[in-house]
């Protein structure tokens, strides 16, 4: 069993959305602007033309953080949200009753409703597609033009991601909440 996480060299991100399209095609995600499992947060630069603050403009790719202590999992009344054997936070569509507690509980706003199944959906780290086929990358990592993403087993000290987290400074989002995300932003 692995404990999968993702490191994001977010300064590489150009907000091209290749990751989002790859994710949708790989996982059959419903179309519609709000129906995405991954997205890129961004800020417009501060200031007035032509004196704009370049540093204030940044792109930050995001998605389900696959927290080790996931609030969504805690609040789910039907245990539809669960950890799979690789530590990936998953939703069992058969058990989901769309009460939306998990959506409210998620500090990262990483969940949405799939209108076709009327269940909650979110990033699965391609668990039931690529990982199930024995592949070792997610669709988003694989396709990224500027190679923002590195996916891998955090418990394997030899893995690329472990190496990156050992050698590069990084941070997690909203770490003060104690959710222990498994998405790491490299600085």
């Amino acid at each position: 069993m692995a404990r999968y996480g993702m490191a994001l060299d977010y300064k590489n991100c150009i907000n091209c959305k290749a990751c989002e399209v790859a994710c949708k095609e790989e996982n059959g995600v419903e179309l519609g602007a709000e129906k995405h499992r991954i997205w890129v947060g961004g800020n417009n630069p501060e200031g007035q033309w032509p004196l704009l603050d370049i540093a204030s403009a940044a792109f930050l790719p995001s998605q389900c953080q696959h927290c080790d202590d996931a609030p969504c999992e805690e609040v789910c009344p039907t245990h539809a949200t669960y950890y799979d054997e690789n530590g990936v936070v998953r939703v069992n569509a058969d058990k989901c009753i769309l009460c939306s507690y998990c959506m409210n509980a998620c500090p990262y706003d990483a969940r949405y409703v799939d209108d076709r199944t009327m269940t909650v959906d979110k990033c699965t780290f391609c668990s039931d597609t690529r990982l199930a086929r024995g592949e070792t990358t997610t669709a988003c990592q694989n396709t990224c033009p500027t190679k923002v993403r590195t996916f891998g087993d955090l418990d394997d000290p030899e893995s690329e991601i472990s190496e990156l987290l050992r050698t590069r400074e990084h941070f997690s989002l909203k770490s003060h909440l104690g959710t222990n995300p498994k998405l790491f932003y490299l600085t």
Partner: protein, 802 residues
């Protein structure tokens, strides 16, 4: 870290997503002459949903080359039960370096687009009204040959024009099968009147660099340490491998990046410094950089002495013209001290690159701008070496001999008015079209053969293009989607998409050259055919009837064949290339194999078939370094340095002076940027999520970016009471459009910006129709004087809220 990552906030603030939400795909498509519901399959070859979850079943992985833009990135198509469920990047291709951009990923939606052209059709209504009837392929070819009661056939036209093949014009957009179309209409049918994307795209850039350095070259961004990027927006207008290489090292990580752009783009967001240059004034910036470098003698003197031609004249001209930073500051909107700093930093850097840029001609001085950029690069000496502008090499592929006939009656091309260096091959779209329209052509142009090209969206002044197409007696279109331009075709031939065809094998030249092949992932859907099959069948249909016309009017042929028996005449017809079919005797697959095996052997062919990519020693050289990246060539085998003593830098071009072109890049006062009070300069550009007008109907991409907006300065918008999403009318001297507003501080108060490629007028592209505005309706049809290329950024507009 202050970046907003919340999904909800992101959605609220996002331009692309705020107006049109989920896509409502219309259930009917009248154009296909039968009810074609969205993704419903009659034969099980089309997925039942737009996106398909990939399964854990066995799948084929077929190597392909992306055809959604010009880059030709390599990928593998995952094919499950005859349906393409996913496109993945191909790690073996050094150009695309194991990536697919959003458009590449969305290529599946081109294939399964419900609005695709599915059957051959001929026009039964009036041009532009979209009334067509479905016919068989043979009926379509027959209509091209003999016409219908609605339009004339090519046989009748050529007979009336006494075999003047120049009466046929033709055009084709960029792509792997373009050459075949040029062979068919240009060399075999014999028309000299070809126009393509070059004169509305990168002609002056290529011309400027090739005339100065001998090549356009490649920027070795992996090893450079200083970059000036102007007139290019690599975060949004993605070019491989440049985009991937550039942004991995920006933001204080090794590649100091100076961006010049009138607007603040995603590339600007990655810059160390961004200069909001006035449109059309880059030349003044480069000339003042050059002035500083020459004045302070910062340039690489050994390099210039060894490789420079005409340097003294160039130096004297620049210095005596007093192109000081103070002079340039007023013109460019870039402070003089920044210009001094940039010039000195550039020359002090180990491996500085002034990025060449690409696409369109922004202003009429574009050729001189590119010349000035190339010579400035040369002053640093950072040419033909690691970390500089490099020349690269190409792996050879055998070229086929085309047995092109000589038509005695064919007239030469005429699109030369106002152009110093008229193109022999690719012409000037604007001059060609306008001379025909204005009756200035020396003979009638009566037919347009078109393929994969949408001049109604791409060539400035759409109204004129419509008029031009309406003047024709016969318009033929080969394409995948019913574009704006297709609506003016009399005969429509539906082409297989790039995922349904094996294309002619191609060689990619660079520091890490490779040979690549696109293989058909699935058989063509509906009744579509691959371009090469269409060329072959059309050639078969036209060959003998057109030969009869040649025999009737061509005195040389008459003299040659006098007294010959029918059998001898047939031999003459074949030997002299009048048999139009011979280039397509063998299918593409067979031709590819022959070419590769003859040059590189059977093993190379096997590797190419499996991986889609081949280069000598690929098995030894290619190494996966980590989950994301590969090494393609060892560093000491890369082609950084290929020119040595051959390397020449033409600082002056005295021969061009004879044609009225400045021998040394020179600033003229009429290049100055100015906009009348109350008006705005229109600038246009591209974005990462679509490719011009060809992808606006793509369900996945349209979902990301459904429409274009007009960027208008926030303070100007406030004054005029224009808010985000308000509809505004934009009006130039030649036309007007309505478009939604995006007020922002990322643009100057006297400028506006819109993405190119939206505002499609074809109702048959149901997802694109009515979304946004077509910039070609506004952009005036001005040309630059060296090549006659379209000037894209010299149109002023008025705007008002409606």
């Amino acid at each position: 870290m202050s970046v907003e990552v919340s999904r909800r906030k992101f959605l609220q603030g996002s331009v692309a997503l705020s107006v049109a939400g989920a896509s409502a795909i219309s259930a009917t498509n009248l154009f296909s002459s039968e009810h074609a519901s969205k993704h419903q399959s009659a034969n099980g070859r089309i997925p039942s949903t737009i996106t398909t979850k990939t399964s854990t079943k066995e799948a084929e992985n077929v190597p392909f080359l992306c055809g959604i833009c010009v880059n030709k990135c390599a990928g593998f198509a995952r094919v499950e039960d005859g349906i393409i469920t996913k496109l993945n990047p191909n790690p073996y291709f050094p150009k695309s370096r194991n990536m697919l951009c959003p458009r590449g990923n969305a290529g599946i939606q081109t294939l399964y687009d419900p609005d695709r052209l599915k059957y051959p059709m001929i026009r039964i209504g009036e041009r532009g009204d979209g009334k067509y009837k479905r016919v068989t392929w043979d009926e379509a070819y027959e209509a091209i040959l003999n016409g219908t009661n609605k339009f004339k056939g090519i046989k009748q036209i050529l007979d009336e024009e006494k075999d003047n093949r120049a009466t046929i014009g033709y055009c084709n957009g960029e792509g792997l099968s373009k050459e075949g179309f040029e062979v068919l209409v240009g060399e075999k049918i014999g028309s000299p009147n070809y126009v393509d994307e070059i004169s509305i795209c990168l002609e002056t850039t290529l011309g400027g660099y090739v005339n100065t350095l001998g090549t356009y070259g490649e920027a070795d961004l992996n090893n450079a340490d200083y970059l000036i990027i102007a007139g290019a927006n690599r975060a949004e207008a993605i070019i491989t491998p440049d985009t991937m290489d550039m942004f991995k090292r920006s933001k204080g990580r090794g590649l100091k990046t100076i961006v010049l752009d009138p607007r603040f783009t995603n590339t600007s967001a990655k810059a160390d410094r961004w200069y909001a240059v006035n449109p059309g004034t880059d030349l003044a910036f480069v000339l003042s950089l050059t002035y500083v470098v020459l004045k302070e003698e910062l340039y690489d003197k050994d390099f210039v002495a060894e490789h420079g031609i005409g340097f003294d004249e160039y130096k004297n001209t620049i210095l005596s013209s007093k192109y000081t930073p103070e002079w340039a500051a007023e013109i460019t909107n870039i402070p003089a001290k920044e210009i001094y700093k940039t010039a000195r930093e550039f020359m002090q850097a180990r491996s500085p690159i002034y990025y060449q840029g690409r696409r369109s001609v922004f202003s009429k001085n574009d050729f001189q701008l590119r010349r000035a950029m190339a010579t400035f690069q040369a002053l640093s000496g950072n040419l033909d070496k690691k970390g500089g502008l490099v020349y690269g090499e190409k792996l050879a592929l055998p070229k086929e001999d085309i047995n092109a006939p000589i038509y005695g009656q064919a007239q030469p091309r005429f699109d030369k008015e106002g152009i110093a260096i008229p193109s022999q091959k690719t012409g000037s779209w604007i001059v060609f079209r306008n001379m025909v329209l204005e009756g200035k052509a020396p003979y009638k142009v009566r037919s347009m053969f078109m393929r994969k090209h949408n001049p109604l969206a791409g060539v400035p002044n759409t109204k004129k293009t419509v008029q031009f197409l309406k003047m024709m007696d016969l318009n033929v279109m080969i394409d995948i989607l019913p574009s704006d331009t297709t609506m003016y075709a009399d005969v429509v031939l539906p082409e297989a998409s790039y995922l349904e065809r094996t294309s002619p094998v191609s060689s990619y030249g660079a520091t890490e050259p490779a040979i690549v092949q696109r293989k058909a992932s699935i058989a063509p859907l509906y009744e579509t055919k691959t371009p090469e099959v269409i060329y072959k069948e059309l050639a078969e249909k036209l060959s003998k009837p057109l030969w009869e016309i040649t025999k009737k009017y061509d005195e040389d042929v008459q003299d040659d064949t006098e007294g010959m028996s029918p059998k001898e005449i047939l031999a003459y017809y074949k030997e002299n290339g009048f048999d139009l079919t011979d280039p397509w005797e063998k299918p593409v697959e067979e031709q590819n194999k022959e070419k590769v095996v003859s040059m590189y052997g059977e093993k190379a062919w096997k590797i190419l078939e499996e991986r889609g990519v081949y280069y000598p020693h690929i098995e030894e050289y290619h190494k996966q370094l980590n989950p994301n990246e590969s090494e393609y060539y060892p560093d000491n085998k890369k082609k950084y340095t290929t020119q040595n003593d051959k390397l020449k830098v033409h600082f002056t071009l005295p021969n061009l002076a004879k044609k009225g072109v400045d021998a040394v890049p020179t600033w003229h006062d009429d290049y100055k940027f100015s906009v009348p009070e109350g008006q705005f300069r229109l600038v246009t550009g591209r974005h990462a999520q679509f490719t011009q007008s060809g992808t606006t109907n793509n369900a996945m991409l349209r979902d990301l970016i459904p429409t274009n907006y007009i960027w208008i300065n926030q303070r100007v918008a406030d004054k005029r009471g224009i808010k985000f999403g308000d509809k505004v009318e934009v009006k130039s001297n030649i036309g007007k459009v309505e478009i939604l507003a995006y007020p922002t501080e990322k643009i100057a108060p006297n400028q506006i910006f819109m993405l190119h490629g939206f505002g499609g007028s074809s109702e048959k592209m149901e997802m694109a129709y009515g979304m946004g505005a077509n910039d070609a309706l506004l952009i005036e049809d001005k040309i630059e004087p060296v090549y006659g290329a379209a000037v894209m950024h010299e149109t002023n507009v008025e705007i008002r809220k409606v």
